[in-house]
Symmetry: C2
């Protein structure tokens, strides 16, 4: 899993009118009111969404977000998730690489916090589909 920093996700829903439906060629195709999402954008968006498509990772985001100081260390997560520490570390890495979490190492502990607006960005693209 690479998750090469899929965000930012702006400019995905083009709204550019397809205008010339050249040929309206073959058989069944009816007219398009607007252009569909571009393949590269679909790839980028799917990479972001894939990082969210796991119950453990959703719980991690929620636990981090629910913390009073918007920060949680790994031990907070191992307490609440019934998963091994390496597995949790793996999920954290996925979320960091996808741009949803920030990692701050202080002393022995690693603290994770939400990247502001990252979830809203994905949500915004979804409603625009």
């Amino acid at each position: 899993m690479t998750f090469t920093r899929a965000l930012p996700l702006a400019d995905i829903s083009p709204g550019a009118p397809a205008g010339t439906d050249q040929a309206d060629a073959v058989a069944c195709s009816s007219s398009m009111a607007r252009a569909a999402i571009a393949p590269e954008h679909a790839d980028a968006l799917a990479r972001s969404i894939k990082a969210l498509a796991d119950p453990a990772r959703l719980r991690i985001l929620s636990i981090v977000s629910a913390h009073a100081d918007q920060e949680a260390c790994v031990c907070d997560l191992t307490d609440q998730l019934t998963l091994s520490q390496p597995t949790i570390s793996h999920h954290l890495k996925v979320l960091v690489e996808a741009g949803f979490l920030l990692r701050a190492k202080r002393g022995t502990w690693s603290y994770y916090s939400l990247v502001p607006g990252s979830l809203d960005s994905v949500a915004g693209v979804l409603v625009a589909i």
Copy 2:
């Protein structure tokens, strides 16, 4: 892949204050401003999001949504996606079972349309995390 009708997704972000942080037990745990998402809700949400976490399926949703009449038949999709017809049929099935698409068979053709509000529902839960 089963996707047992994950929606509706209401009531996921509880907002119920955790109140009594009993014992604030072990080591590093700082206080929670609110309760995190419940494990079952995380599972249901992850099932929905998984259905969206594929570039082909995102393009399908976008193509359907971009159609003037909000409907597309399979041939519209095979024209625009560089995937075999069985693969597209598979993705359509996933989206229908996840509650994002409706299938209407008329004569030889199958027409697919968006389930109104289904994407907004997922987006709403995301911003509430």
